[in-house]
């Protein structure tokens, strides 16, 4: 028996020693993501894990400052409108891909054609849906052609990762990405990690961090454990409660807006007074403070953040006024009636908690709230059910284009995938804005739409959630409004 004991001890010691050498820190950093990329082809999927990695391997034609302003990247300057549906893009010179292929107008044209090809069936097509064609007009200049006036084409080009024409035809391209970006791909151990190393020939300012390892961990608790154990330098989606427990944290107003879609056509919520009451009843500040520890802003009566195009700074959030809510509900004569609130659990940060908290506020306003939390698939059935709209559906809208169009088409516009109103005026405003190339006029249309929806209280606008990142003590990073994890903007002390 003694022999066994000693053997075991030896085994344990050996493993511990091995372990010690195994994860000793290299010079680079480790970033823990919530999900693993399913591919490293930058154009096929709409996938957070893939984007987090490829944002560092590839460059886009345009980019944004950390605050969200558009600026040229591979383009030498901002695109120019040639005629109503043609934009001219001029590229920087002297840039090459990691494998030596030159970056020129042909590469960009190729990339555009690749992503809009119906055969290619890209999930990113919604970003480029207006683009019909592109053609090179010189070595470094090209024209992008749209199916009509498209005011947000520059925003779309901010999504266009440029791929090398030759290498991207390689069947192994999805596992061996080659871009022009500040980091080169090294290895992908599926299920475990992806390694990148600094591109020493990068055309822009040289990044400080020499290498990055991405790990994929779905459980937020496990990610946090890794950060606290010193294994990770950056984790995403840190829970607000933990900002004081991790070495460092960064919070940036993010892209996510939890709202409740109210049924304006039927049920107790058909009455605008009730819809307003439901807005007044909710103490949004308390939700921000209580549930999110202050890491969320009260949404200002619209499905937009201040950094988004179309944001109307004249519209302010409904105040928290429980008495007014009660009064309105009594006026409408629906006191004590049942209102159904639909939500899901585990899909978005604190989704269930928000729903239950809101239900609690509504109850206090004098309604009988029936909360129904569905498993995600079933929840989607309700969200997309065009025939019978539930009284209230909780949803979290996420808008990566930073432009009103996407969210408004989906939730504001009558007939949109998640909209619960049949307001033709509102729909008209949104449609008009869609093809208006004059920025001022377009912005004005959105301002009107925001105001209209606000007055009608088609939604209960809750919060604008901040993205919180947990950082190791040695990592410096200010964060970005567009939630991109650009390693070149990070520094290790």
């Amino acid at each position: 028996m003694k022999k066994y004991g000693r053997l075991l001890l030896a085994a344990v010691l050996m493993v511990v020693v091995l372990a010690g050498t195994g994860w000793a820190k290299a010079e680079g950093i480790t970033i823990a993501l919530g999900s693993e990329p399913t591919t490293l082809d930058p154009q096929i999927r709409e996938d957070g894990g893939e984007r987090a990695v490829n944002d560092n391997i590839y460059d886009t034609v345009l980019t944004r400052t950390p605050e969200g302003d558009m600026m040229p990247s591979l383009a030498a300057q901002m695109p120019k409108l040639v005629d109503a549906d043609t934009w001219e893009v001029t590229l920087r010179s002297g840039i090459t891909f990691h494998n030596g292929e030159p970056l020129n107008a042909d590469a960009v044209v190729y990339s555009i054609k690749r992503v809009i090809d119906p055969e290619f069936n890209s999930e990113q097509i919604s970003f480029f849906s207006t683009i019909t064609d592109a053609r090179a007009t010189g070595d470094l200049t090209l024209h992008v052609i749209t199916d009509g006036p498209d005011p947000i084409l520059p925003t779309r080009l901010y999504w266009l990762k440029v791929v090398p024409p030759k290498h991207s035809k390689d069947p192994k391209f999805a596992e061996n990405p080659v871009g022009t970006g500040p980091y080169r791909f090294v290895a992908w151990q599926r299920g475990q990690h992806i390694d990148l190393v600094r591109n020493e020939d990068y055309w822009g300012p040289a990044p400080q961090i020499s290498s990055v390892r991405y790990r994929f961990i779905e459980e937020p608790g496990t990610r946090l454990a890794g950060l606290m154990a010193g294994e990770f330098d950056l984790i995403t989606n840190l829970l607000p409660e933990f900002t004081s427990h991790v070495p460092k944290s960064v919070n940036v107003l993010g892209l996510e807006h939890p709202i409740i879609i109210l049924n304006a056509d039927d049920g107790v919520t058909k009455d605008a007074r009730v819809r307003k009451a439901l807005n007044y009843a909710v103490d949004k500040q308390a939700l921000a403070q209580g549930l999110f520890e202050g890491f969320a802003q009260v949404a200002q009566g619209q499905l937009l953040s201040p950094s988004f195009f179309g944001y109307n700074d004249q519209v302010k959030a409904y105040s928290y006024d429980p008495d007014k809510a009660k009064k309105l509900i009594e006026e409408a004569g629906v006191k004590g009636q049942t209102i159904e609130l639909i939500g899901t659990s585990g899909r978005w940060l604190k989704d269930r908690d928000l729903v239950e908290a809101v239900a609690d506020f509504w109850k206090k306003a004098g309604l009988d709230v029936k909360v129904r939390i569905f498993e995600f698939n079933e929840y989607l059935n309700r969200l997309f059910d065009r025939k019978t709209r539930a009284d209230g559906i909780f949803v979290v809208s996420s808008n990566e284009l930073l432009d009103a169009d996407k969210s408004f088409s989906a939730y504001y516009k009558a007939g949109g995938i998640g909209s619960s109103n049949t307001d033709e005026t509102l729909a008209g405003l949104i449609d008009a804005a869609r093809s208006e190339t004059d920025e001022k006029k377009r912005e004005n249309l959105y301002h009107q739409a925001v105001q209209l929806a606000y007055d009608q209280a088609y939604f209960v606008w809750l919060l604008n959630i901040e993205d919180i990142y947990g950082l190791s003590a040695r990592l410096e990073w200010p964060g970005r409004v567009d939630a991109r994890l650009l390693v070149r903007e990070m520094q290790v002390r």
Partner: protein
């Protein structure tokens, strides 16, 4: 005449009652001897009482939120309050109340699954063992096939598809676990059928349901009871695991496994959120296991004898060591 008949009946009943009391006393005496069993029985009793009277015992409604008192620590911390003796969770719900109510779900699921699976398994086993022939072949082939299924995976998928809830969890776990009862019942029936008294009953012309219920089932009680209790422990763990994975009990219902899953995100700042429901599961299962091993002991005379011998051996060794020590010290 009828008077005497009634008297004798009365007497018989009295006798019967007496036997019952006697049996209970005997059990009590057995328990006194087996400390672990005693602890187990006491814990289970406490748990059952707690589950039954949960609404009266629990200081708060387990679903009552209080966003202003989130993640309050237990009372012995500086920031803890008597209002929430074991602290609160991330929504300000009282951990103690949730734990008390959680016992309901665990015990209810355990009992329901054992009864369902046990009932079905026993019926199938009886049919297979008693009817034999094709029925037997069919049932046993079914059992063999289902035993070779990747049970948990199927359970997860079915739960995900039809939507997890208390009922579906019970049904899925029961569907997954009836085979063991079936097998045991069948083999017991086969061996009991050979015994003279069942043969006699058959010769006399008892019909098979009667034979089964009067002669065979009573002999199965003791092994079935032990198996049922062991399965109970397994089911409590399984429910907790399913709920932990998010495919078991769904909020706003409470379950220990669910509470661990929700508390896990906060485990570094609020250890009590994982620890308390986790301990509740462990203690419950441990208590059930203790009772099961005690039951197995007292229901098996051979095992009892062995146990006694072990006990004596232990005592004797002690005595021997004492004598040797004395002898060594003597001169």
């Amino acid at each position: 005449m009828s008077q005497t008949n009634a008297d004798s009946l009365e007497q018989a009943l009295e006798q019967h009652r007496h036997e019952w009391v006697e049996k209970l006393f005997e059990l009590g005496r057995e328990l006194k001897r087996d400390k672990a069993g005693l602890v187990g029985v006491m814990l289970i009793t406490a748990l059952v009482l707690m589950a039954v009277f949960a609404p009266y015992i629990a200081p708060h409604d387990p679903t009552d939120q209080d966003l202003t008192a989130r993640l309050a620590p237990p009372v012995w911390y500086e920031k803890g309050t008597l209002k929430h003796i074991l602290g609160t969770d991330h929504l300000g719900r009282d951990v103690l109340s949730r734990t008390i109510h959680g016992a309901r779900v665990s015990l209810w699921v355990g009992a329901a699954v054992v009864l369902l699976a046990g009932g079905f398994g026993v019926v199938m086993g009886l049919m297979a063992g008693y009817l034999g022939g094709r029925t037997d072949a069919f049932v046993m082939r079914w059992v063999d096939t289902q035993v070779a299924f990747p049970g948990l995976l199927l359970a997860l998928i079915i739960l995900a598809v039809i939507g997890p809830s208390l009922t579906t969890v019970v049904v899925v776990l029961a569907l997954n676990g009836w085979m063991v009862y079936g097998r045991m019942t069948r083999s017991a029936v086969l061996s009991i059928r050979q015994s003279p008294y069942v043969e006699a009953a058959e010769v006399v012309g008892c019909r098979w349901p009667r034979v089964i219920f009067r002669h065979i089932l009573p002999n199965l009680t003791s092994p079935l009871l032990t198996l049922g209790i062991l399965e109970f422990a397994r089911i409590v763990l399984a429910e907790a695991a399913l709920s932990f994975l998010g495919l078991g009990i769904q909020p706003p219902a409470t379950s220990w496994g669910l509470d661990v899953a929700m508390g896990k995100n906060y485990m570094f700042m609020a250890w009590w959120l994982v620890t308390i429901p986790g301990c509740a599961i462990a203690v419950t299962v441990l208590a059930i296991n203790l009772v099961a091993s005690w039951l197995r002991l007292i229901s098996d005379p051979q095992e009892r004898e062995k146990q006694f011998a072990r006990h004596m051996a232990g005592a004797m060794r002690k005595k021997m060591h004492a004598t040797i020590k004395k002898e060594l010290e003597a001169p």
